[in-house]
């Protein structure tokens, strides 16, 4: 059943960059009509990221030890030594970026192009970093698989 926690982590982890990309594209095509939607999607990105982070944290602290042993004894220890080590700390930066989205979106986007530019950059960085996280997660899963297959 614990796999559900891991799958939910991935689900919300994917939902976050989708919402951030939505914010980025909507802000690039800004009009008064979509300002409210931008703010809602900014909140959604932050909520998705917090859910993903908390679920991952719970799994990492209580259940990752077994997977770590499989990876380190397998043919691809880099999956932990580089990818997991980097991912667990980069995720904090991503969480802060996603948390910052609704703050930046609460600005008067209609009146100020500068506020819109800030939001576009933050949403863009959120998407890029989230995709890096997704890739890292895939490599870590492959590390576990390679470790199990080599037994």
């Amino acid at each position: 059943m614990i796999e559900i926690v891991l799958m939910a982590h991935v689900f919300f982890g994917v939902a976050c960059p989708f919402a951030a990309l939505w914010v980025c594209v909507d802000t690039l095509n800004f009009s008064e009509a979509n300002q409210r939607r931008i703010q809602k999607m900014s909140y959604a990105a932050a909520v998705f990221m917090w859910l993903s982070f908390l679920l991952a944290g719970y799994w990492y602290v209580f259940y990752y030890k077994a997977d770590k042993a499989i990876i380190l004894n397998g043919p691809f220890p880099l999956a932990h030594n580089f990818f997991m080590e980097a991912k667990e700390h980069l995720a904090i930066i991503l969480l802060m970026l996603a948390s910052y989205l609704p703050i930046a979106a609460a600005d008067n986007l209609l009146a100020h192009t500068g506020a819109r530019r800030v939001l576009i950059w933050v949403a863009g960085m959120t998407v890029v970093l989230a995709l890096m996280m997704e890739s890292g997660g895939g490599v870590i899963a492959m590390g576990v698989k390679a470790g199990l297959l080599s037994r």
Partner: protein, 106 residues
């Protein structure tokens, strides 16, 4: 310095995000090179990563709030371009410190 109409919270939390991102990278270097610090962080919450996350998120929210209260509650003034530059530089620096460190260590 023009504020470009950006709210004080956008500026203050943007600056704190840049600072906390760099702090994230520097704290990893500190705990990877200092076993005593790593042990102390483990002891605090039971897992070094939990302590690490609390410290960095604490820096983000505390500095964001403090910067917003500066100058008698007016907050820090900054142009949009300068804020974007600081944000991107902070996030990139924090990320590159992490990636560089784990590349060197492994």
């Amino acid at each position: 310095m023009q504020n470009s109409g950006i709210s004080k919270y956008t500026i203050s939390f943007g600056l704190s995000l840049a600072i906390a991102s760099v702090a994230d990278g520097l704290l990893v270097i500190a705990k990877e090179t200092n076993p005593d610090l790593l042990a102390a962080m483990k002891k605090l919450t039971g897992h070094h990563w939990v302590t690490h996350s609390i410290i960095i998120l604490g820096i983000f929210f505390l500095f964001g709030w403090l910067f917003a209260q500066s100058r008698g509650g007016i907050g820090i003034k900054m142009s949009a371009n300068r804020l974007i530059g600081t944000l991107v530089a902070g996030v990139a620096a924090g990320s590159l410190i992490l990636l560089g460190l784990f590349t060197c260590l492994r």
